[in-house]
């Protein structure tokens, strides 16, 4: 019982995004056109058509986090990385603001490659991101 979502996740886990050749292959398997599959993929927010940064940072902007000053966190992170919703030039980071991540009692919430960081303030967020910057540079 493999469903389309399984196939998409599998490819994205391997490549970090969905390469066109794989989209063509999966569309054939599913018996739909490439454009139909494209329409399905882009409906979802978590699939990428191009390579994205090594570390995907998502900051929650929904109401509970908003009430707890998530906007301040987001602004500082944007300034620090010099990006708004997008990838950094060095390819290390991608920044997204997203809807509720299901940890509303502990907001503001940020995830980096799906690891949860809670009860953030701007300073704490920058500190965490800096540690990833070091990690990225070490591995470079």
């Amino acid at each position: 019982m493999e469903v389309l979502l399984d196939k998409l996740h599998k490819v994205q886990d391997e490549f970090g995004f969905l390469p066109e050749s794989e989209i063509v292959r999966i569309a054939n398997e599913q018996g739909i056109t490439k454009s139909e599959l494209f329409g399905i993929i882009t409906f979802y927010s978590r699939f990428y058509l191009q390579p994205v940064g090594k570390f995907v940072i998502r900051i929650c902007k929904s109401l509970s986090c908003g009430i707890n000053s998530a906007a301040d966190v987001r602004q500082k992170v944007e300034e620090h990385l010099e990006i708004r919703n997008g990838s950094s030039k060095d390819g290390l980071f991608r920044l997204e603001t997203v809807e509720c991540l299901g940890h509303c009692g502990e907001g503001p919430i940020m995830t980096i490659n799906d690891k949860i960081y809670d009860k953030l303030n701007p300073e704490k967020a920058i500190e965490i991101i800096t540690s990833y910057q070091h990690k990225g540079e070490e591995n470079a």
Binding site: V3, H9, S45, R46, E99, E106
Partner: protein, 401 residues
């Protein structure tokens, strides 16, 4: 998340580990189990509060029922299903197996949003830990049984049962027109029962204690306990388990939650951003489906969001409008375009470029969207925004218009 002393039922019930409730259900047989479920008065915990037994009866005599457990939890303010998956996976697993047995269903899905990685891991661990019992279940109780855990792709609307079915079918996951309801015609045209994680986690308790005892908790139309996700400007945010109808919203916020730490309470959202807000004078209200409905709002998913006086009603409205604008599936024009217009008009007001007539316009657009909407997203998208306009008009008119 720290374990909370109010989470009596879920913590107590979880670690039994031997499927005692499942075994009991099998001894009872499916009809007696349905009888217990009916007596229990359980209603769905995914938002609508529809009777679980009534839903199941639509498909009771069908041979190929598909069962889907909805763990796509995306309503801002909600985190209860994640908590169950992470801390009570066994309870959900047992609930799923009991339900599949009762419904004669061998094709079962658990759809978890992709963001919930820890939840996914916890549930898989639970499956691994209970492999022997699952083998026994497959051989002795429900031959052909297959449980498939599916990760979502990141789309709030997939929480709607018909969108979720489209998503599983590999289609563009927008909502379907109802009727036919999924219980009649769902996945691949088969009768399909969709239930929330919290709903199915109640099944082992109903079998263990009997429907009578379950229904002795709560009030008419809202039997049993409910998980409440408390967040926002509150001293002790977190997950609480309450007996429905026996505690007021005020008590949840002040007695359990310790009140607002830094200022006076301004408004409360009782059930997530799809529900209308209540002002401080409306909080002496019992928390159950019926009482909140009567007050013009809804218990929704049980996501109680508290806002103190530092929160501008216009900002909160913009936040909700932005959410619905980005999450509409776009298939009904009034929902797709209406949410865009609501967001646009609110932002004009925020920038000081608004007119007072916009407020009426926003309410009209919201009403149109709710009347024309195919699914609950469009039906409820205006609840929070219009109630904020009604109750805190000065925040909108104030300096900005």
């Amino acid at each position: 998340m720290p374990e909370h002393k109010y989470l009596k039922k879920f913590i107590e019930a979880s670690p039994s580990g031997d499927f005692a409730n499942l075994r009991k259900a099998v001894e009872y047989g499916r009809d007696k189990c349905l009888n217990e479920l009916e007596i229990s008065g359980l209603v769905g915990r995914g938002g609508a509060g529809f009777s679980t037994a009534a839903k199941w009866k639509f498909a009771w005599n069908s041979p190929d029922v598909v069962l889907i457990c909805n763990g796509d939890e995306g309503e801002p303010g909600s985190f209860k299903d994640r908590y169950i998956l992470e801390n009570g996976a066994f309870l959900l697993l047992e609930g799923l197996l009991i339900s599949a047995f009762m419904l004669n269903s061998s094709e079962v899905y658990l759809y978890i949003r992709d963001e919930y990685k820890d939840a996914l891991e916890a549930f898989h661990k639970c499956l691994d830990d209970n492999l022997d019992l699952i083998v026994w279940y497959c051989e002795q109780v429900n031959p052909g049984f297959e449980l498939k855990v599916v990760c979502g792709g990141g789309a709030y609307v997939c929480g709607d049962e018909t969108s979720l079915i489209n998503s599983l079918e590999g289609k563009r996951p927008h909502s379907r027109i109802k009727p036919p309801y999924p219980a009649e015609k769902g996945l691949r045209g088969l009768p399909t029962i969709v239930n929330n994680v919290e709903t199915l986690s109640n099944l082992p308790l109903i079998i263990r204690d009997g429907g009578e005892k379950f229904s002795s908790m709560g009030v008419e139309g809202s039997r049993g306990s409910k998980l409440i996700c408390l967040s926002g400007n509150v001293e002790k945010p977190g997950l609480y388990e309450i007996e429905m109808g026996k505690i007021t919203l005020e008590e949840i916020i002040y007695t359990l939650g310790g009140g607002c730490p830094n200022g006076k309470l301004k408004f409360v959202i009782p059930g997530g951003t799809s529900t209308a807000v209540l002002a401080p004078d409306g909080l002496k209200i019992a928390v159950d489906y019926g009482s909140l409905r009567k007050a013009g709002t809804s218990l929704g998913t049980g996501a109680v969001i508290v806002a103190d006086e530092s929160v501008d009603a216009l900002d909160a409205a913009c936040n909700a409008a932005d959410f619905f604008m980005s999450e509409t599936c776009g298939i009904c024009f009034p929902c797709k375009e209406g949410n865009r217009q609501i967001d646009h008009l609110l932002n004009l007001i925020r920038q000081g470029k608004g007119q007072e007539s916009y407020l009426k316009l926003i309410q009209d657009v919201a009403l149109t969207a709710s009347c024309a909407a195919r699914c609950g997203l469009g039906q409820s998208c205006g609840n929070m925004v219009t109630s904020l306009i009604d109750k805190f008009r000065t925040d909108f008119v104030g300096a900005k218009l």
